[in-house]
Amino acid sequence: GAGVSQSPRYKVAKRGQDVALRCDPISGHVSLFWYQQALGQGPEFLTYFQNEAQLDKSGLPSDRFFAERPEGSVSTLKIQRTQQEDSAVYLCASSLGGQGRLLRNIQYFGAGTRLSVL
């Protein structure tokens, strides 16, 4: 596609409910990132994929958060038993990836999914 697409754009969940957020990266982009952006803050790194391999999940705040990218393209971020503190905008970004040229590392962001946990 032309850009990174995320769905849904808005999600309201009751506390304790499980949610799944989807990210469609730019076609051909090897690297995929998930970020959490709280109101008035900068994005905070959650996890990183290179193709289907999850190479870094150090930013996931708890074991209730799980991300996958089984075929190396679309990715899903799942949050189990949502809590109010999970309310934030979840951003997905993709990049060409790999070493070498500087431009391969530029991350292109989706518009995000705004999650509100009541």
Binding site: V4, Y35, G40, P43, Y48, D56, L102, L103, F109
Partner: protein
Amino acid sequence: ELKVEQNPLFLSMQEGKNYTIYCNYSTTSDRLYWYRQDPGKSLESLFVLLSNGAVKQEGRLMASLDTKARLSTLHITAAVHDLSATYFCAVSTGNQFYFGTGTSLTVIP
């Protein structure tokens, strides 16, 4: 953990004026990025800076990098209303990106 600090956090300026946003980071990084975010929209890449002394310009925005001071600046020249947005700097080490808290810029006619 790498820390990234921006100042000011909020900036209100008149059209036609100049101003500078500062981005400090705590440890050596590979690259420094500047992004723009409009309300409810995704982050848009503005600049990527790699080496000490790098300077890049696009329109009324100019970014520079001093790796020894661990400082990047985003200079705005003769601001116009269309520049109103939140500006983030980010530094990368390996595959991790660390973002500043952002500078919310409002340009007043």
